[in-house]
């Protein structure tokens, strides 16, 4: 009797569980279904293929205008192909963990927006599907689209162990923006070297209630991006293609020294500035210059956010005049290895990373595409006043590190910069810390 009661209890629990599971939003994943990946676009420039039964889920970070633009693009893709594409947008800080948890489990994502710092981890773990065959297949790509359509050094970043896994976009770098009116009033020429930047920042600091220069000082990636650009501008980088530590401590110390000098002419609280706080300060006339990522500089030219719109000039970072350089910042669009909709997922990747679609993203969000035709689009050039400086910087560039172990090194690098700014470490001591952090990330 007691046993029957116990079993009946379990049965009730099972029924309740099943009933509540009925509240499910539909679960994750979707069926592969029928479709034709080679079907021509319904309209010129539209996505390839038809996928009437496909239900896809795309994982990316949340934040406008990107998320809204992505939803619009997903709706257009769905209309054109018959497939259904849903966006799972999460806070950036939680994106890696949620993607990793989902991918190591039963799956649930078809398309993933993957940051370089965890691309290596995902590719090594087998979470991503290679796309070499699809990219090389002329039938499933528009006539003008192939691997050759992309900037080679950017496309290369989506490779792991010789296989192409992802297609890039969100191309950006670090450049300097300066107030043309302020420089003119102070009889200063636009800076051509970083030494001039430090000198001009010190000279302009405090004049008319404005700081000399704003730049990110908060740990979270941007400080390491600036450091990467400062190293590249000296012909140096964290590590070589053979995976060995190539950091020149003297170059690292020089970069930190510049950072410290610049921070002395920065608005108060610079250690709490991420790129948006820096660009907000500059946009509101609190700073004569700013060093930041190109997407964040859009805020300078947006009249809704900026009281200084139209007053900015842009130059690449250079320690030696006419030798500009920058860190290549980008994101990867990848297909989950467990996706049952890989043809449909590729259709979206191909279409979304094409120059025409990326031009629409650029107009809305000031990020750049990775295809060659993007950079010859006149609409884009008009929308992105820093495009010329960005192109010059990226002619000599190193990509954001994509080692699985890099996030920890990045944090240590940024902490060393912060401690140098606070006077707790000399630039040389900070460089030593960076060297050790890079060595540890490289496994020795």
């Amino acid at each position: 009797m007691a046993r029957r009661k116990r079993w009946s209890g379990w049965a009730v629990a099972l029924v309740v569980t099943t009933a509540l599971a009925g509240c499910n939003s539909g679960g994750d994943g979707g069926s592969g279904g029928s479709g034709d990946p080679n079907a021509a676009p319904a309209t010129a420039g539209g996505p390839m293929g038809t996928f009437p039964d496909a239900k896809l889920v795309l994982s990316r970070w949340a934040g406008d205008p990107w998320t809204s633009g992505q939803k619009d693009a997903a709706a257009q893709w769905s209309t054109a192909t018959g497939g259904k594409l849903e966006i799972d947008a999460l806070p950036y800080e939680n994106l890696h963990d949620k993607q990793a948890l989902t991918l190591q489990g039963a799956g649930g994502y078809d398309i993933l927006y993957v940051h370089p710092s965890w691309f290596g981890e995902f590719a090594k773990a087998g979470y991503l599907a290679p796309i070499d065959d699809k990219l090389a297949d002329a039938k499933r790509n528009p006539a003008d689209f192939s691997a050759a359509s992309f900037l080679p050094n950017v496309l290369e970043q989506g490779k792991y162990d010789g296989k192409q896994y992802c297609l890039p976009d969100f191309v950006s770098t670090i450049v300097l923006a300066y107030r043309k009116d302020v420089f003119e009033k102070a009889n200063l020429k636009p800076p051509t070297t970083l030494d001039e930047v430090a000198t001009d920042a010190a000279a302009l600091n405090g004049k008319d209630g404005m700081a000399g220069i704003a730049l990110p000082g908060k740990r979270g990636g941007a400080v390491a991006d600036v450091m990467g650009s400062l190293l590249t501008a000296q012909g140096n980088w964290w590590y070589g293609t053979d995976g060995r530590n190539t950091l020149d401590k003297a170059a690292a110390a020089k970069a930190v020294d510049f950072y410290v000098k610049a921070a002395k002419s920065a608005p108060s609280g610079v250690l709490n500035f991420h790129v948006d706080e820096a660009s907000t300060a500059a946009a509101q006339g609190k700073s004569a210059m700013i060093i930041s990522t190109t997407p964040s500089l859009q805020a300078l030219e947006d009249p809704a956010k900026s009281s200084t719109a139209g007053k900015w000039g842009y130059v690449p970072l250079a320690f030696t005049a006419d030798k500009p350089a920058g860190e290549l910042i980008y994101w990867n669009w990848c297909i989950a290895a467990k996706s049952q909709n890989q043809d449909a997922a590729y259709s979206f990747l191909q279409w979304y990373t094409s120059g025409a679609q990326q031009a629409k993203v650029a107009v809305a969000a000031a990020t750049a595409g990775a295809t060659k035709d993007f950079y010859t689009n006149p609409d884009v050039a008009a929308k992105l006043p820093f495009l010329d400086a960005m192109n010059k910087a990226l002619t000599t560039s190193n990509p954001q590190p994509s080692l699985a172990s890099w996030p920890k090194a990045q944090d240590q690098i940024e902490l060393a910069v912060q401690e140098a700014i606070q006077g707790k470490k000399s630039p040389e001591q900070a460089a030593d810390v960076m060297y050790e952090a890079v060595s540890a990330a490289l496994g020795g």
Binding site: C23, L90, P91, L101, A283
Partner: protein, 271 residues
């Protein structure tokens, strides 16, 4: 007015400022356009706009987060009360061997950090094909609400004079009848206070919601955090979302204020 009273008023005023100024700032920012938010100095005179609310409720579909949070909070609270209140009564009244040990064990589960539970829960719900469902979130939130219910309600039941239930037992009622008809109605303020706390904890929970929810079951904390992007923070949108998230809690707090005060001080002056 003596100086101690002045000092106590001053402390209350400072406390209120610390608590209310950030809330006021969020409300004000939710009514500003970006150019009024990003000003060199605080801008108190501006033309209010509902654009942020229109965007949050329209384009960004924040209402779905509110609906999800409501379902999860109500579900978790109901489940926690349904299981926890009888358990609390049993621990308060029944001669259970090792009663304090059981009670301590239940309290211990509340002390386990959520981060230590989230991965095992993810695996369990994944294998049960329940990831992304309301049930997963309700069950997860019940893990931290249940100990609260049991411990709070146990103390309320213990404060009741046992004579009333014994009289009911003498009059022919069973133990469940004594619990249902006598003890439970007398602890109604405590029950209300406990329910409100459960609702609040569930409403504000982030980690389980992040890991266990699906794209259609994400709750308010995920929605608010989503305004923090890689490049910038949508201060107007996040402020409007925060205000929308605040309203149900504020209304609930006001409605349940009487029960909260009575419930949280229930038995405190027992002689």
């Amino acid at each position: 007015m003596n100086r101690w009273r002045v000092a106590s008023y001053a402390i209350v005023v400072v406390f209120l400022l610390v608590v209310l100024v950030p809330i006021a700032a969020v409300v004000v920012n939710s009514l500003k356009v970006p150019s009024d938010i990003f000003t060199p100095s605080l801008k108190l005179v501006f033309t209010p706009t509902l654009d942020n609310y229109a965007k949050v409720l329209g384009d960004l579909e924040f209402s779905s987060f509110l609906v999800n949070s409501t379902l999860v909070a109500l579900g978790s609270t109901a489940l926690s009360l349904a299981v926890g209140v009888p358990a609390a009564y049993a621990l308060a009244r029944l001669p259970i061997r090792g009663r304090e040990l059981w009670a301590g064990g239940i309290l211990f589960t509340r002390m386990v950090p959520a981060v230590a539970l989230v991965v095992p829960m993810y695996v369990i719900f994944q294998r049960a094909s329940l990831l992304g469902t309301y049930f997963a979130l309700i069950a997860a939130h019940t893990t931290f609400n249940l100990p609260i219910v049991i411990w709070m309600m146990r103390s309320f039941f213990e404060e009741l004079p046992p004579d009333l239930e014994e009289a009911a037992l003498v009059d022919g009622s069973g133990r469940f009848g004594a619990f249902w008809r006598v003890a439970l109605p007398l602890t109604a303020p405590g029950l209300a206070a406990t329910a409100v706390l459960c609702l609040l904890f569930s409403w504000n929970e982030f980690l389980f919601a992040l890991v266990l929810s699906g794209r259609d079951t994400q709750t308010v904390p995920i929605g608010v955090a989503s305004f923090i992007g890689t490049v910038s923070v949508d201060w107007g949108g996040s402020s409007a979302a925060a205000v929308l998230a605040l309203i149900p809690v504020f209304v609930l707090g006001l409605a349940a204020q009487r029960f909260l005060v009575r419930g949280l001080t229930f038995g405190a002056v027992k002689g």
